[in-house]
């Protein structure tokens, strides 16, 4: 059964290489985009830390900024 699934009447090399290529591409794309996202979140956090108390409060009062701060504090490398 297992051998049959792997060899697929001699077509296994073509079928498996297609599937492996597809999912490796998915993994590669996911890692690239995730890395970009984390990098921007870290940049945002660094900039936020350098702000004075008044500016920090202004940032916290805005919905999108608040959202970014929330997801930035959750996701870690």
């Amino acid at each position: 059964m297992i051998n049959e699934i792997i060899s697929m009447n001699g077509y296994g090399i073509y079928v498996w290489s297609s599937f492996i290529f597809t999912f490796l591409s998915f993994g590669f794309l996911y890692i690239i985009i995730k890395t970009q996202l984390i990098r921007e979140q870290l940049k945002f956090n660094e900039k936020f830390r350098t702000l004075n108390a008044e500016k920090k409060n202004t940032v916290r009062s805005q919905e999108t900024y608040k959202g970014i701060l929330e997801i930035s504090s959750v996701s870690k490398i």
Partner: protein, 235 residues
């Protein structure tokens, strides 16, 4: 209506959605893979090589769909200068590029046992390669130009020119004599694929669509945070 898609309004959704989309993707792709690699029957002519269809066809469909969406959004950008359309179009491109590469590579692998060659310069394959090149040029243009006004115009122009290629891809198998087989699945006509093959094809298409949604959401969030980072500098 476009105001409902303002980045600030939808960030609450786009920032939380990726984890749910990723979970759903894993569930559907697991079922799809079992169907595609184990349960679905082999073809009476192509034997097991037909299973390549389950990654090749959804990738081609999604890359075409994404470019159509980018072209439509680009038209709106030129017409209304809508900021959210710009952000959405830019965020769609990376997954579109990867799906077009997957369609080309898996098509080439499928070509070897079926046609006896890895590559042929026939209408469908060549027009698909042109689509992939348009994706490349579109993404590179975003990196080259710094001026916002200029980059919006250039990328929109690239997308609209590239959209001319979309009907060529779709009808190339009808207009010219090609190695590539005509469409087996149609929205308007009777589908010529047996349901035992149509189910895994539908599942894999759903899984791939979810993956492209996941990448889109992550890229969209990245671009939005980039904009907000610049906003912090101006505070």
């Amino acid at each position: 209506m476009l105001k409902n898609f303002e980045p600030n309004k939808i960030f609450a959704i786009t920032s939380k959605a990726p984890k749910y989309v990723l979970g759903l993707f894993f569930i559907i792709v697991s079922i799809g893979l079992i169907e595609a690699l184990v349960l679905s029957p082999e073809d009476y002519i192509q034997s097991h090589s037909v299973r390549i269809m389950y990654v090749h066809v959804p990738s081609a469909w999604i890359s075409l769909g994404i470019f159509s969406a980018i072209a439509t959004l680009s038209f709106l950008i030129l017409l209304f200068k809508n900021k959210s359309s710009i952000l959405i179009a830019k965020s769609l491109a990376p997954s579109g590029l990867v799906f077009s590469i997957i369609a080309l590579v898996t098509g080439s692998i499928w070509g070897k046992p079926t046609w006896g060659t890895w590559w042929a310069w026939d209408a469908r394959i060549t027009s698909m390669l042109i689509l992939c090149l348009f994706y490349f040029v579109y993404i590179i243009a975003w990196r080259i130009y710094q001026d916002t006004e200029k980059v919006n115009k250039v990328t929109s122009f690239i997308a609209l020119v590239g959209a001319v290629n979309l009907p060529i891809i779709k009808y190339s198998v009808d207009w010219w004599s090609t190695l590539h087989q005509p469409a087996s699945v149609s929205v308007f006509e009777k589908t010529s694929i047996h349901h035992t093959m149509l189910i895994p094809l539908a599942l894999m298409t759903a899984a791939f669509a979810l993956f492209s949604l996941l990448i889109f959401l992550m890229k969209y969030n990245t671009e939005l945070i980039k904009i907000k980072n610049k906003g912090l500098d101006r505070l």
